[in-house]
C-alpha cells in the first residue's frame, strides 16, 4: 500500500492513476455482510442440510418453521425484499395449487363439505397441508441459494475443487446468453412487427408469427457463436495449462469450518434420532 502512496505523490502534475483501485483487485472482493461472504459451498451445504431436515421430519409445523427461517436468513443477508418478492409469489402459487388439488380430489372417509362435484375431505386437507408446505420449503431453499450466491463465486469455488474451466465457462456463458438472447428476441419481434408480421389476433395468426421471430434469432445466434469461438481461441481458452484468476474468494476462516462441521453433525444426529 505504501508503494501506491509513493506513486500518487510522484504523479502530482501528471496523469492521475487510481492505484488503490487497481491494487484492490489483488485481494478478494468482499461485500461486508458476513453471511454473503461465506464460501458458496458453505452456503450450499447449509441449504441442502435445511432441505433434508424438512424432508425427513414428517410434520407440517417443521416446514412452516423452516419457511420462516428462510425469511430470517434473507434478512440477515440483506436480500429480504428481492427474496420475499419472488418467494411469496411462488409459494402462494405452488402451495395453493397443490393444496387445492389434494383437498378436493383425494378420496377419504370424513367429508367436511361438498359442493357441485368437489368433495373436501379431512384426509385430503391433511395431505394437502403436509405436501404443499414440504414442496414450498424445498422451493425456498433453491430460491434463497440463488439470491445469496453470485454465479461467479460458485464457479470459482468449483474450479478450486478441480472442475475444468470449460465446464464453468458453459454455465456462466449460458446465464449470460439467456439475457442476451432475450434482448435480441425483443429486438427481432419489434423489427418483424414493423415489417407487418401480426403478433396479436387469432391463434392461427399468432402461430404464424412464431417462426419469423425464432428463425432469425436462432440462425443469428449460431453464426455469432462461431465468431465467439474464434475470439476465445485467440485468448488461449483451450490451452492445457491452468488459468489464473482476477477475482478470488477469501481463504476459509476457522470459524466457518467450525460452523459447517456443526451443521453437518447436527443433521446426522437428527437423522439418526428420527430413524430410531
Amino acid at each position: 500500500m505504501s508503494v501506491s502512496r509513493l506513486h500518487l505523490i510522484q504523479m502530482e502534475g501528471e496523469l492521475y492513476m487510481d492505484y488503490e483501485y487497481v491494487f484492490s483487485f489483488n485481494k478478494p472482493q468482499l461485500t461486508g455482510n458476513w453471511f454473503l461472504d461465506l464460501n458458496p459451498l458453505t452456503k450450499l451445504n447449509l441449504v441442502i442440510a435445511i432441505a433434508i431436515f424438512s424432508i425427513i421430519s414428517k410434520s407440517w409445523q417443521v416446514s412452516v418453521c423452516i419457511i420462516i427461517l428462510y425469511f430470517l436468513i434473507a434478512a440477515i443477508a440483506g436480500k429480504f425484499y428481492s427474496f420475499a418478492k419472488i418467494y411469496i409469489k411462488l409459494g402462494l402459487l405452488i402451495g395453493s395449487l397443490l393444496f387445492i388439488m389434494r383437498a378436493m380430489f383425494i378420496p377419504g372417509k370424513n367429508t367436511l363439505f361438498s359442493f357441485l362435484v368437489f368433495n373436501i375431505t379431512q384426509e385430503g386437507v391433511n395431505q394437502g397441508v403436509w405436501f404443499s408446505t414440504l414442496v414450498v420449503s424445498l422451493c425456498g431453499s433453491l430460491v434463497l441459494y440463488s439470491k445469496v450466491t453470485r454465479a461467479k463465486d460458485l464457479m470459482f469455488a468449483l474450479e478450486k475443487l478441480g472442475a475444468p474451466h470449460s465446464a464453468t465457462y458453459i454455465i456462466l456463458s449460458s446465464l449470460q446468453s439467456i439475457i442476451d438472447l432475450g434482448e435480441r428476441a425483443k429486438l427481432i419481434m419489434d423489427s418483424q412487427k414493423a415489417r407487418g408480421i401480426e403478433t396479436e389476433g387469432t391463434i392461427f395468426q399468432r402461430v404464424k408469427a412464431f417462426m419469423p421471430i425464432m428463425g432469425p434469432l436462432l440462425l443469428g445466434a449460431i453464426s455469432s457463436t462461431e465468431e465467439k469461438a474464434i475470439a476465445m481461441d485467440a485468448r488461449a481458452f483451450s490451452s492445457p495449462t491452468k488459468n489464473t484468476h482476477m477475482s478470488e474468494l477469501r481463504q476459509f476462516p476457522l470459524w466457518e469450518k467450525m460452523m459447517v462441521l456443526l451443521i453437518n453433525i447436527s443433521l446426522i444426529l437428527f437423522i439418526i434420532w428420527r430413524l430410531i
Binding site: M101, V143, S174, M189
Partner: protein
C-alpha cells in the same frame, strides 16, 4: 477432432438460451404450449446425444430456480437430448414426414415418463393445468394414474409436434460453413 468439441461447447449455452426464449415467446404470444425443448433437440441433432442431454439438464436446473417442481422432470430433458442425437444419426431429420412421426415418439416419452414421474412424486396431481385436467378426469371416473397419463400425453403431443417442425426447418437452414464444424453436422449437408 478438437475443432468439433470447441464449437459444441459454445453451442451449448445457445441451446440453453433458446429453450428459455422459446418458453418466453409463447408466453408473450399467449399460445397454450411450452416449446421449451427446441434447443435441446437442435443441439442433440447437431452435436450428438450427450451435448443435447447436457443442454436439457442445465435448462431444467435453471428453470427450477424459479419453479422447483420442474426438477423432478429432469430425466425427460436428458432423454430428449439423447433421442435427438440418435435419430439424427438415422437420418430422421432430413424429411418432414419422418420428423412428424418421430415427434409422436418424443411426445410418448414426454407424456408417458412425465406422467409416471407425476404419479410417483406428486401422487398423480401435478402443479399446473394438467393437474386440473387430471382432477376433472378423476371425477368422471378414471383413476388417478389413467387421468394423469391421458392429460400429460395429450399436452405433450400438442407441444412436441410444433417443436419438431420448428427443429426441422432450423436444421434445414443452418449455413454449411457452420455445419462442417459440428460433430453430426455432416449428416445435414445435402451431398
Amino acid at each position: 477432432m478438437k475443432n468439433n468439441f470447441k464449437l459444441t461447447m459454445f453451442l451449448i449455452p445457445i441451446g440453453i438460451a433458446v429453450n428459455f426464449i422459446g418458453g418466453q415467446i409463447v408466453l408473450l404470444l399467449k399460445l397454450p404450449i411450452y416449446l421449451d425443448s427446441i434447443g435441446t433437440i437442435v443441439v442433440g441433432a447437431l452435436c450428438g446425444g450427450i451435448p443435447g442431454a447436457l443442454v436439457g439438464v442445465i435448462t431444467n436446473v435453471t428453470i427450477s430456480v424459479t419453479n422447483p417442481t420442474t426438477l423432478a422432470y429432469i430425466w425427460l430433458n436428458i432423454l430428449f437430448g439423447l433421442l435427438a442425437g440418435f435419430l439424427a444419426r438415422r437420418g430422421v431429420f432430413k424429411s418432414l414426414w419422418k420428423t412428424i412421426v418421430a415427434s409422436i415418439g418424443f411426445a410418448a416419452i414426454g407424456g408417458g415418463l412425465g406422467a409416471t414421474i407425476t404419479v410417483l412424486m406428486f401422487g398423480g396431481l401435478g402443479a399446473g393445468t394438467t393437474g386440473m385436467i387430471t382432477g376433472m378426469l378423476m371425477k368422471v371416473g378414471f383413476s388417478v394414474q389413467a387421468g394423469a397419463y391421458i392429460s400429460e400425453i395429450c399436452a405433450d403431443l400438442l407441444d412436441k409436434i410444433p417443436t419438431l417442425i420448428i427443429v426441422f426447418f432450423i436444421l434445414k437452414s443452418i449455413p454449411k460453413r457452420n455445419l462442417v464444424k459440428l460433430p453430426q453436422g455432416e449428416l445435414f449437408i445435402d451431398k
